[in-house]
């Protein structure tokens, strides 16, 4: 309609297996030339969604449109898409080149021609030397390449990849991710890529669709999805954030902005109380979760045994003063605690900090080795962050914008 063609269109798709609803009312569209990642935990319905596009599952309601053609009731062989399976599904009794040429053989292309084409596709995945090898003699990474070449060889409207790299080791997986990205950019074949690995999704995707419990929670480019999560699930699945659960204890009109209400939230786990201004109608008693990402946390050795307010900031009148909480005028929150664990992770170090409230709240901070503070277990530290950089989620998990 507006320049970019849509190659896959799902409209209100619902897939049920008996009692279980695998996919509920899912609508999405994949644009021509893009790599679209369906990201979610196992069992969230992402593979079922992919299988619905391929035609292996027929939706109970809704429509599947491929390249402008409604294919909802068509069999897989009548659809112009190709799948790269999780276990690759190479034909064991056929050689590599016969595997790659299979799609063209089914399409009735002559033997010499389809072999030439298959050779080109083998070169694309750098497997030209393995024409007459049988799949059983190949390594996992090589099988992966053949599966990719076999799917590309039918020149599909859209290439569907079902966790294609999950059976490979980490190093090979990272190499293959870049290669798939490279091939995708070169051939400009639209791809729908299913994965449970958020790093993989961020590496590959032009756009990401985050799924949970059969629903598509959010769709957007990686930056948007990461910087502006709409839902607590998206936030928890995309990063290793610290979640603090709190409760609304008071609300009143905001003096400066009448559309908003000033809400006071107490976080018993860290013994802190904050005020936020929001348009959402939170009322006292509502649960509110704050997500404090490791990257916004300042971690420094505690200046002394007694917590002090570094710049002598004034207290907000409504915020109840606690021994180790320092919300000040610049909206920084500071907590003190003790390092409970230091985990060395090669290029980075992760610190677990026990907050001094006796409620057992723990925050984790990760620092690259080069700028990691010299701390060991038991050291007293101060953690602070800008309260404006915190994400808040309401009782139903939806984002509370402040």
């Amino acid at each position: 309609m507006c320049g970019v063609r849509t190659v896959v269109e799902l409209d209100g798709v619902r897939v049920e297996y008996g009692e279980l609803v695998a996919v509920r009312d899912l609508s999405l569209s994949v644009r021509d030339g893009e790599l679209f990642c369906l990201l979610g935990p196992s069992g969230c319905g992402k593979t079922t969604t992919l299988r619905t596009i391929a035609g292996f599952e027929s939706p109970d309601t809704g429509q599947v449109v491929l390249d402008g053609r409604t294919v909802t009731s068509l069999a897989p062989y009548a659809r112009d898409c190709a799948t790269v399976f999780q276990d690759w599904a190479l034909f064991p009794n056929k050689t590599v080149i016969e595997n790659v040429a299979f799609g063209q053989k089914m399409a009735g292309v002559g033997k010499a021609k389809r072999r030439d084409q298959a050779r080109d596709h083998l070169d694309t995945v750098e497997m030209g030397d393995y024409e007459d090898t049988r799949p059983a003699e190949l390594s996992g990474g090589q099988k992966q390449r053949i599966a990719l070449a076999r799917a590309l060889a039918v020149d599909p409207d859209v290439l569907l990849l079902d966790e294609p790299l999950s059976n490979l080791d980490k190093r090979l997986r990272e190499t293959m991710q870049l290669e798939i990205k490279d091939i995708q950019e070169r051939l400009n074949t639209p791809m729908v890529y299913v994965t449970h690995d958020q790093e993989e999704a961020f590496t590959l995707a032009d756009r990401i669709g985050v799924m949970n419990n059969g629903r598509l929670m959010q769709v957007g480019d990686p930056e948007t999805v990461y910087d502006d999560p709409v839902d607590e699930f998206v936030e928890s699945f995309l990063g290793n954030s610290n979640f603090l659960s709190g409760r609304v204890v008071g609300s009143g009109a905001d003096r400066r902005d009448t559309a908003r209400r000033a809400v006071t939230v107490e976080f018993p786990g860290v013994g802190a109380q904050i005020q936020i201004a929001t348009e959402s109608g939170l009322t006292p008693g509502d649960d509110l979760t704050a997500s404090v990402r490791p990257e916004i946390l300042e971690l420094s050795p505690s200046p002394g045994e007694t917590p002090t307010s570094p710049d002598g900031g004034t207290q907000e009148g409504t915020a109840e003063r606690r021994a180790d909480v320092e919300p000040d005028t610049t909206n920084r929150m500071a907590l003190t605690g003790a390092v409970s664990d230091v985990v060395y992770r090669g290029s980075s170090i992760r610190y677990q900090v026990d907050i001094d409230t006796g409620e057992g709240a723990e925050l984790s901070v990760e620092r690259s080795v080069t700028r990691a503070p010299d701390l060991s277990t038991g050291d007293r530290v101060e953690l602070s962050w800008d309260t404006a950089a915190v994400y808040y989620f309401g009782p139903d998990g939806a984002r509370v914008r402040v």
Partner: protein
């Protein structure tokens, strides 16, 4: 304590065994009981049969003259036109029965493999349960079913499909149906067992790449099923070439198989000829099976076997 003793004992026995076997590895030693068993149940009886086939026929009472050597048994076979006819018919019958058994058995096994849950259980149970009864009862049941006043004819007549009853017994159709009834379970199970090793995602991959269900079967399922079909075919052929119960109970005198003729010769106390016929049949079956396997292997179908 006792553990240590046992371990010590085992070590001692092992060293004794190793010393006794000299250069022979322990793995080969494990084959000895199997070889002895083979010798006892196959090689010795076949050798004895071969010996009888080369003995002279007894003229006054008794089946054969012990300790004599003669080719009379084989001479009798080549002279008798009855034996030649019976032999040809048996081979033809075995080939047709084998082809039908492998064809139907593969279809049945594929259906059972594709089916799920209760349907699969029913299909497989049907096959296995038919193996619970003895051959004679099975073939007799077939006779009851197929005879002119049997269930099949009654049903077809009542339904108006037929005007007069079909002759399904005392002819080659009856023998064939009876024999299939006997060998089909084995071909079905042989093919089904290899199909269970076939990854269903391969069929999906074929469909995904544009193969219709029929083409997917031809390209993916059949090549995978070939070893099972070969095993099923071997069983069906060997069993049909030696068919006895089905031709006896469902055939007439013109559907006489080699096994029936052997029995016939034995009843005439012509032991050397009976043994010679048995030896020839066994040899022909072995040669045909060897040829079949060699051909399959050359074609590449048995690569995985």
């Amino acid at each position: 304590m006792s553990d240590v003793d046992t371990a010590g004992g085992v070590r001692r026995v092992r060293s004794v065994l190793q010393a006794a076997s000299g250069g022979i590895s322990r793995t080969k030693l494990l084959l000895v009981p199997l070889l002895l068993f083979d010798l006892l149940v196959f090689v010795a009886p076949m050798g004895y049969l071969l010996r009888i086939s080369l003995a002279e026929r007894s003229v006054g009472g008794g089946a054969l003259q012990r300790g004599t050597w003669s080719l009379d048994g084989y001479q009798y076979l080549s002279d008798s036109s009855v034996v030649t006819t019976v032999f040809t018919w048996t081979m033809l019958f075995a080939v047709v029965a084998t082809l039908l058994a492998v064809g139907i058995g593969t279809l049945y096994a594929y259906a059972a493999w594709r089916a799920s849950g209760a349907t699969r259980t029913v299909l497989l149970a049907g096959v296995v349960m038919s193996m619970f009864t003895t051959l004679v009862v099975k073939v007799f049941a077939a006779r009851v079913m197929l005879s002119p006043e049997g269930v099949v004819n009654d049903t077809l007549l009542a339904a108006g499909v037929l005007d007069s009853s079909l002759l399904l017994v005392n002819n080659e159709i009856g023998v064939l149906i009876g024999q299939l009834y006997v060998v089909l379970p084995y071909t079905v199970l042989a093919v089904y067992s290899v199909l269970t090793g076939l990854d269903e995602s391969l069929v999906e991959a074929a469909n995904d790449l544009g193969a219709t269900p029929v083409r997917a079967v031809r390209e993916v399922v059949l090549p995978h099923a070939v070893p099972g079909m070969a095993v099923g075919g071997v069983i069906a052929f060997a069993w049909s070439a030696g068919a006895f119960a089905a031709p006896l109970l469902l055939g007439s005198t013109s559907e006489r198989t080699v096994a029936v003729e052997v029995q016939n010769l034995l009843s005439q106390f012509n032991y050397p000829a009976a043994a010679a016929l048995a030896v020839v049949l066994t040899t022909v079956v072995l040669v045909v099976l060897t040829l079949g396997i060699v051909l399959l292997r050359r074609r590449g179908g048995l690569r995985d076997v």
